[in-house]
């Protein structure tokens, strides 16, 4: 892989962000709104629920982690959609950049975009609601890694859909994460789901990530095996996502959709 080319594509998106104040505000605005919304809900539950009475802000921590996943995935999709919207798709695909370099660049830039929004929001939550996601300690890094990999995977699957079906797949791009959210057990334990759905949910890394988050915050204990399981499942999905992306690219070449793709 050529780092210069990975940087070049990242630079294209960094310029896009730095050229536009509304874009920067947009990146920060939504995570911050999420923090406020879930912060108040979390506060209400903390005062009125036995389940959460021992751990202030468990819901808010879940909201922050879920938003991180959401931002990574949406950022990945957005960067691909930007190429379609700006009718730059053909220029990009005739440039001498390998698909692996393209994925690496989008993966790298996605986390930058996500962090631009998430870091201020996570910091705001500390004085405002007395909730610090950093209380999760070292395991936080592993949970974020797993979320990051899964977020990128979802991005890869959506961009594969864009390659396969063209810009009309855009609406699915926005809906993709909401589809998985109920099965992710983000705000509630796995037992809430019907048995049949529990079986499916266990196949997603989200359940293991958020169950472990609750375990750390409620029991003050870390189960590294569960974290390892979450990362392993995420890696598995990531590899699958990369394979599907390559297959979609090949399919797009056969169907001729790479040329003149635009709104």
């Amino acid at each position: 892989m050529n780092l210069g080319k990975i940087y070049a594509l990242a630079l294209r998106h960094l310029y896009l962000i730095s050229n536009s104040l509304p874009r920067i505000i947009d990146l920060i605005y939504w995570p911050t709104v999420q923090i406020f919304l879930w912060g108040f809900i979390s506060k209400f539950f903390t005062l009125n629920s036995d389940y959460y009475s021992n751990t202030v802000g468990i819901i808010l921590t879940a909201a922050i982690l879920y938003d991180f996943l959401f931002r990574v995935s949406i950022s990945f999709n957005m960067m691909f959609l930007e190429e379609i919207w700006s009718r730059n798709f053909t220029n990009l695909f005739i440039a001498p950049i390998r698909l692996s370099e393209m994925i690496a660049s989008l993966t790298f830039t996605a986390i930058l975009r996500a962090l631009i929004g998430m870091v201020p929001a996570a910091i705001i939550a500390i004085p405002l609601f007395g909730v610090s996601v950093f209380e999760l300690g070292l395991p936080l890094l592993f949970l974020l890694l797993s979320l990051y990999l899964f977020g990128v995977t979802l991005g890869l699957l959506v961009t594969s859909g864009l390659l396969r079906f063209g810009p009309s797949f855009e609406n699915i791009a926005w809906a993709s994460l909401f589809f998985l959210a109920p099965l992710g057990c983000i705000y509630y334990p796995l037992e809430i789901l019907p048995i049949s759905l529990q079986f499916i949910a266990k196949g997603l890394p989200l359940v293991h990530i958020f169950e472990e988050m609750r375990n750390i915050l409620l029991n003050d204990a870390v189960n590294y095996f569960d974290i390892f399981k979450a990362i392993s499942i995420s890696i598995l999905y990531f590899v699958l996502g990369v394979i599907i992306f390559y297959a979609s690219f090949y399919g797009a070449k056969v169907r001729g959709t790479l040329i003149n793709m635009g709104e």
């Binding site: 050529n2 210069g4 080319k5 940087y7 070049a8 594509l9 630079l11 294209r12 310029y15 896009l16 050229n19 536009s20 930007e82 190429e83 700006s86 009718r87 730059n88 798709f89 053909t90 220029n91 695909f93 005739i94 440039a95 001498p96 950049i97 390998r98 698909l99 090949y250 070449k253 056969v254 169907r255 001729g256 790479l258 040329i259 003149n260 635009g262």
Partner: protein, 244 residues
């Protein structure tokens, strides 16, 4: 021959977009690709750019099948400009050239951008966003991007479409001079017959996915007994409806 197209076909479900075409281009020559809309020009260019997978046939560059090159190896030797594709609108001209220069792995990028901007007279709007430019300015920026890597093979799809005569002439003159100076092989698709006559060493005419004639402009005009390439184009494009 530098570029050889052998029995190239592309079929989309029930539509045969390109039907068994054969042609070649010598190094440092310009070939015009002519034909009515939907005749298969864009599909042919798409296959040569590696964006479309041929159903059958071969594309050889320097006697080597394009499929056997590594993607970045072959793409660093070619480039493409078309008014139907654009550069990111929210990036400035300088930023766009920098991004593409880096994507093409250009050494001493700063001086290359300087050189090409000077040549194409784009320096006075260098820091403006590309989306804010006039079509003539955008066209020159797009051409600058397509030449940033000093391509050995340049694909141009209607490079002067929607330009006023003055800018159109500037672009044609520039392409002509650039080709002579830099030894580049050009495939030009155009509906502007004056442009084709001025820039192309030879032409091929396509219709319904097939090549229906080929030769130099003079040969083809003479062969069909017309006065100029425009009349010849109309004769060939309209085919048996010509008498109407």
């Amino acid at each position: 021959m530098f570029i050889q197209i052998k029995n190239l076909s592309k079929k989309y479900k029930n539509t045969l977009a390109v039907n068994n075409i054969n042609f070649s281009i010598e190094k440092n020559r310009t070939l015009g690709l002519l034909g009515p809309n939907g005749c298969g020009k864009t599909t042919s260019i798409g296959m040569m750019l590696g964006l479309i997978k041929p159903t059958s046939g071969e594309i050889l560059i320097d006697n080597k099948n394009i499929e056997s090159f590594k993607r970045d190896e072959i793409l660093s030797r070619i480039n493409f400009a078309s008014p139907y594709i654009e550069l990111p609108k929210k990036l400035t001209v300088r930023q766009n050239l920098e991004v593409y220069g880096r994507l093409y792995g250009i050494k001493d990028l700063k001086s290359r951008i300087e050189e090409i901007s000077e040549d194409l007279d784009i320096k006075n709007f260098f820091n403006r966003k590309t989306g804010e430019l006039s079509s003539g300015q955008k066209n020159r920026v797009s051409l600058a991007k397509s030449l940033i890597n000093k391509p050995e093979i340049l694909f141009l799809d209607e490079p002067t479409a929607s330009l006023d005569p003055d800018i159109g002439d500037f672009v044609r003159t520039y392409i002509q001079k650039y080709r002579l100076k830099n030894q580049v092989t050009v495939l030009l698709a155009s509906h502007n017959m004056n442009e084709v006559e001025r820039l192309c060493d030879s032409i091929i005419m396509m219709k319904n996915g097939e090549i229906i004639d080929r030769g130099t402009c003079e040969e083809i005009i003479k062969k069909h007994g017309r006065n100029n390439l425009e009349e010849t184009f109309l004769k060939l494009a309209r085919g048996k409806n010509e008498s109407r």
